[in-house]
Structures are given as structure tokens and as C-alpha cells.
């Protein structure tokens, strides 16, 4: 019998066995029932019996025409939500004809310069029948304006639009890197879009506070959840301090997004502990009156850094286990990555297999038949408690550092992630952290060769031609006037969303809008921590 000390990937102690002592003397109301505060066991009393999670595959490449075709295929094959991948110029606020971004147009996602592109992207996709998620942050408010404007053109009322914009800038400064402006005006723009959605587009999540990118940059599961909750607190503080809305008015617009990596029970515990922590923060810090305001609604992505280019079919198995952990953790939507993602833009076949992975989980394994099947497990409840204690410790440390903005501007968060990433790399190099096919059970076959995302010159030219055509045919005077109004509004305190919608409806480009705001707000300067 081995009593050696083991830990989870994030360093939580794991005992040889757990028994009834875990539950004895603990406050069972903190475990509670599904659909009841603090939602440890899930948001809804019926769980997946009543409603499955959303199958949402991240997709988008090249031109709006190509991406539109892929979206319609995914919907036809049983996908229930869209997830737009935009190229880097779109995410950082450059137009496709900017000489600085020549190499990047349409490379890792679809190029969107003006409303004309967005109209094509959603052609023949009725926006009142689909929910659409955008992994865009710096320019998220502009993408929201696109979506509202396309909806208007389709005759869909704003109240019927559903989906999520990621719109979470703080983690971009730390890891993903698509920042544009400094934190203070960026947070203002996020608060503007949250207020706007609460008023006008109530079924749209105006922010998806995302831990996934902390995680893929090297953070462990506890850091991922704690940093993310601290980001969410930062955004909520801003809106509450403005005094125009109460927490109960805007909390339903806030959602979350995380990676689900390999440590199965730690991932389950992460979602359960995160739900409980958020519920208590919303009630205790902000004084929410509605229990529904305290609900932690989250999407997840399975894959990412855990996928390997050596023996790449192993990735199918990794993603399937991760997906099951996410479902036993109670997520609301899921993206399962394709096995070839570490080295290629996924093919139609690998994309479909990734979707099928979720469908098999939902319809064949039976894990959806009862709500929170792991609830009350001695081990899972103990690990949930341990994870929660970690979250409290990490968040208190960030508060002590002056809050998340300060901790990011000082490079403190970046340093914590770099430390963790280096520690994990040492464990992989020494073989202590096993990766099958990489540092154990290697085969002699060559690792799969990377196929960089194709950059089709004809597609790029097509994009440039459309942009030139839009600039030539739009009502130039009205476009310039809209940009001027936006600049004036940015200098004041008015909500910028109506101005952004006016700009996109006049076919101003993403680059023009971004530059207008850069002139007022300046650009972010990154601290160089490693």
C-alpha cells in the first residue's frame, strides 16, 4: 500500500483514499442542490437532462465566403452555436490593406474589415436562430456593433440576438497579446458594451471572462480560475462604481471561459469551486438580490497546449477525456479541438471528428442522465474545497498587490505564470510529468510536420478588392462624420456603443475606428517579464 504524497497538476494534495469524514461536520448547504445557491452542483435543477451544453466549434479562416460555407456545414451537421475565429489584423485593429499586416491577412481566422464582410459571414444564417461567440477582445465592441448591424439588416430585433463576445482585455495584456489601448480606457469600453447589452441586447453575453489563455500560457488550474475571477471582479467594480446599474441588472451579461486540460478530477473540482466562489462574490461583494445573478455560466475549450504533434492521434483520446471532465464539471458550452491542431489548420474531417466526440459523450455515454453525478463523492467534494481554498488565497494575494490592473501593469501576474510554466517544463524534461508519446512511450516515427495555415494570395486579393470597393462606394462624408462623433464621445463619458454602431453602419473600417480611439487613448506599453 503506497502512502506516498501525491498532488494534482496544480499542486493540491491528493490522499490515498477519502471517506465519510470529508462530509461529516462540513456545512452541507455549501454543496447544496443543483440550481440552488451557491450552485456547487450546477446552475439548473434539471442539468443536462433538460438542456445539453452548446456544441460550439471555433472556426473561421480566409475570407468571409469560405467561413460562411464552413458555418453552414457545422449547423447542418448538428452544431448548435457558431464561434467566429477572426484573423489577427481584425483582432488588433488593422485593415487588410495595411502594409504592416501583409503576412497575416486571413491566416488564423477570417478577415473582417467592414460591415460588408460581416454581412457575407452570416449570409443565409438567420441570427434569431443561432447563438454566435466571438473570440475577439481589443476590437470586441466593434464586432458587437457588426453583429447588431447585421441583425438589423436581417430584420432581427436586438432582443433576439444571442451569443457571446469574449471582450476580456485584461488577460490579453498577460498572455494572448491582442491588446490595443491601455487598461483604463479598454475597461471603460468593456463596461460600455456590458451596459449596452443589458439595456438593448439582453440575451447577449457582453463579456466572457477568459482563463483559457492564462492556462495555455502556463498557469495551473487554480491560477487560471483565480486570475479569471479577479478579472471579472475588476469589470464588475467598474460598472458598479459608475452607478448607472445594479449588479442584478448586468450580472446576467457576464460569462466565463476556460481550458479543460488533462487532470480529470482537478478540472471537475475547478468548475465546481469556481461556481461556488463566484456565487458568493456576487452576493457578498456586490449585494446581489437575485440568486440568478450569482450564476457562473461558462464555456470551455478542450485541447490547446495539451495536444502534441508526436503520435498526434493520441490527441483524440486526450480531448475525449477532457470533454468528459468538463461535462462532469457542469459547463454550458464546449469546443473540442481537432487532433491535428498542433500542426495544421484542421481539415473538414478532423473538425467533424471533434464535433462527434461531443455528440458521443452527450448521446451514448449516459453521463447526462443524472445531474452532477459526482456530487457527494468524498474525493470530489474534498478536492472542490481544496481548490476553493486555493482560489481564495490567490485572489487575496492579487488584491494585496493592488488589484488586477496593478498586478498586470507591474508584470506580477506575468511573472507568476512564467514561474509555473518553467516549473512544468522542468518536470516534463525530467520525466516527472509524463506526456505519452513525447517523454514516454516514444515511437521512432517523425513528428507530424507542421502545415502552417494557408495564406491564399487570391483570397487576400479578393479581400483587398472588396475593401477598396466598400471605401469607393460608401457615403464618405457620413463615414467621416460618424468617426468624428465617435472621437468626441470617447473624449467624454457617454456610452460608445451607439457611436460604434453608427460607424459600422456607415461602413467605417475596423482600422479607422481603432485609430480614432488610439488618437484619444494612446497605446498600451507592455512590461517585459520572463
Amino acid at each position: 500500500m503506497s502512502d506516498k504524497e501525491l498532488t494534482s497538476d496544480a499542486g493540491l494534495a491528493i490522499d490515498r483514499v477519502y471517506g465519510p469524514e470529508v462530509l461529516e461536520g462540513s456545512d452541507l448547504s455549501r454543496i447544496g442542490s443543483p440550481g440552488e445557491f451557491p450552485f456547487t452542483r450546477g446552475n439548473h435543477p434539471g442539468g443536462y437532462r433538460d438542456r445539453l451544453w452548446t456544441f460550439r466549434q471555433y472556426s473561421g479562416f480566409g475570407t468571409a465566403e469560405w467561413s460562411n460555407e464552413r458555418y453552414r456545414l457545422l449547423m447542418k451537421e448538428g452544431g448548435t452555436g457558431l464561434s467566429v475565429a477572426a484573423d489577427l489584423p481584425t483582432q488588433i485593429g488593422y485593415d487588410s490593406d495595411d502594409p504592416e499586416v501583409e503576412e497575416e491577412v486571413g491566416r488564423v481566422g477570417v478577415a473582417l474589415d467592414t460591415l460588408a464582410d460581416a454581412e457575407i459571414l452570416f449570409r443565409d444564417i438567420p441570427l434569431d436562430q443561432v447563438s454566435t461567440s466571438w473570440t475577439v477582445n481589443g476590437t470586441a465592441a466593434i464586432m458587437l456593433a457588426f453583429y447588431v448591424a447585421v441583425g438589423a439588416k436581417q430584420g432581427v430585433p436586438r432582443a433576439k440576438l444571442r451569443g457571446t463576445i469574449q471582450n476580456d482585455i485584461l488577460k490579453e495584456y498577460v498572455s494572448r497579446g491582442t491588446w490595443i489601448w491601455p487598461p483604463t480606457p479598454s475597461i471603460r469600453l468593456i463596461a460600455d458594451s456590458i451596459e449596452f447589452c443589458a439595456d438593448e441586447v439582453p440575451r447577449y453575453n457582453a463579456v466572457s471572462v477568459a482563463g483559457a489563455h492564462f492556462r495555455d500560457a502556463g498557469a495551473n488550474a487554480a491560477q487560471e480560475m483565480a486570475f479569471t475571477l479577479q478579472d471579472a471582479v475588476t469589470y464588475c467594480d467598474e460598472i458598479v462604481e459608475r452607478g448607472r446599474m445594479t449588479i442584478d441588472q448586468f450580472a446576467p451579461q457576464v460569462s466565463f471561459f476556460f481550458y479543460t486540460h488533462n487532470d480529470f478530477f482537478e478540472e471537475v473540482a475547478k468548475y465546481r469551486a469556481g461556481r461556488r466562489r463566484w456565487a458568493e462574490i456576487v452576493r457578498d461583494r456586490y449585494g446581489a438580490r437575485e440568486a440568478s445573478s450569482s450564476m457562473f455560466r461558462t464555456g470551455t475549450v478542450c485541447g490547446g497546449w495539451t495536444l502534441q504533434s508526436q503520435q498526434p492521434h493520441n490527441n483524440i483520446v486526450r480531448v475525449a477525456y477532457q470533454a468528459m471532465a468538463a461535462v462532469l464539471g457542469g459547463v454550458q458550452s464546449m469546443f473540442t479541438a481537432a487532433w491535428d491542431e498542433p500542426f495544421a489548420l484542421p481539415t473538414e474531417e478532423s473538425t467533424m471528428l471533434a464535433l462527434r466526440t461531443q455528440q458521443i459523450l452527450a448521446h451514448e455515454t449516459g453521463v447526462t442522465r443524472t445531474v452532477d453525478p459526482l456530487g457527494g463523492s468524498y474525493f470530489v467534494e474534498a478536492l472542490t474545497d481544496e481548490m476553493e481554498a486555493q482560489l481564495i488565497t490567490i485572489m487575496a494575494d492579487l488584491e494585496a498587490h493592488g488589484g488586477m490592473v496593478q498586478a498586470i501593469e507591474d508584470g506580477y501576474v506575468q511573472g507568476l505564470i512564467a514561474d509555473e510554466s518553467a516549473a512544468v517544463q522542468r518536470k516534463i524534461d525530467s520525466g516527472e510529468r509524463v506526456i505519452v508519446g513525447v517523454n514516454k512511450y516514444q515511437s521512432h516515427e517523425e513528428a507530424s510536420a507542421l502545415v502552417p495555415p494557408a495564406m491564399d494570395e487570391a483570397a487576400r486579393q479578393h479581400q483587398l478588392d472588396r475593401l477598396a470597393e466598400v471605401k469607393r462606394t460608401r457615403h464618405t462624408r457620413a463615414a467621416l462624420a460618424a468617426l468624428k462623433d465617435l472621437r468626441q464621445a470617447a473624449q467624454g463619458e457617454a456610452n460608445l456603443m451607439p457611436h460604434l454602431i453608427e460607424c459600422v453602419e456607415e461602413y467605417c473600417t475596423v482600422g479607422e475606428i481603432t485609430k480614432e480611439l488610439k488618437d484619444v487613448w494612446g497605446e498600451y506599453q507592455q512590461p517585459l517579464v520572463f
Binding site: 503576412e103 497579446g177 497546449w305 512564467a418 510536420a449 507592455q526 517585459l528 520572463f530
Partner: protein
């Protein structure tokens, strides 16, 4: 004795994936190098000019967007324009095997595709910046 070798770790292009760049920067620092990190989204000309100003021995470009050929070429050209052909350039990231020789032909001194063990990378970089005693 001689000064420690100086290395500039740089991220050209728009790609923000800096986990690898930071790991390499830290490993080189731990191995006794003086390391400067540019941060993300740097233009090749700016990278070359920082390299000259900081008088580094070697530039490590980290590129995960697939745009390694163009960005490496531009960096090497910018160094030549600045008369700094003595500064060596190495490339790390998601480089397919077929592009490794092409990068060496462009003038890269070494290529470290993702998955290269850090120890090996550090030793290879050390060999590149150590003057050969003839």
C-alpha cells in the same frame, strides 16, 4: 574574464504566443547569458535596431504564426542594412522540417522547432556565440 554573451529574444509579427519565447529567455538567463526580451509584436527593423543598440551577439526569433520565412528574411535584411552582419540570427517556433533548410539558406545560424529540449538549445546557442579558438 570575458563578458557574458548577450542575446536578444524577439517576437516579430502579430502573433502573441510568448510561452516559448519566455521559457527560452529564462533558460538562457539561468545559463549565464545576458538576455533582453523585446515583447510581442515587434517589426523586424525595430528588432534589428534594438540588437545593434544593445550590442548583442545573437538574436533569437520566436515565431508561431507560420510567417517565419518572411519575418526571418526581413530581420536578416534589416541587420545587413545596419551593417551588423556579425549578429547571428536563430529561429524557434512551429517550423516544419521542410522549412528548416530554407531558413538556414536565408542565413539563419540555427533553427529550433517546437519540442527542442531546452538544454540542447542552450548548448547550441552557447556554441554559436563562443569565439572558436583557432
Amino acid at each position: 574574464m570575458s563578458m557574458p554573451p548577450r542575446v536578444l529574444v524577439a517576437k516579430p509579427g502579430l502573433d502573441g504566443h510568448d510561452r516559448g519565447a519566455k521559457l527560452v529567455a529564462r533558460a538562457l538567463r539561468d545559463a549565464g547569458f545576458e538576455v533582453i526580451y523585446t515583447g510581442i509584436r515587434q517589426k523586424p527593423e525595430v528588432i534589428a535596431s534594438i540588437a545593434v543598440q544593445e550590442d548583442v551577439d545573437l538574436i533569437g526569433l520566436s515565431i508561431l504564426s507560420g510567417a517565419h520565412m518572411g519575418l526571418t528574411k526581413k530581420t536578416i535584411e534589416a541587420l545587413a542594412e545596419a551593417g551588423a552582419t556579425d549578429i547571428k540570427v536563430v529561429v524557434g517556433g512551429t517550423v516544419p522540417p521542410v522549412d528548416v533548410q530554407a531558413l538556414l539558406d536565408l542565413g539563419a545560424a540555427a533553427v529550433f522547432p517546437t519540442g527542442t529540449p531546452l538544454d540542447q538549445l542552450v548548448e547550441d546557442v552557447r556554441a554559436l556565440v563562443t569565439p572558436t579558438s583557432a
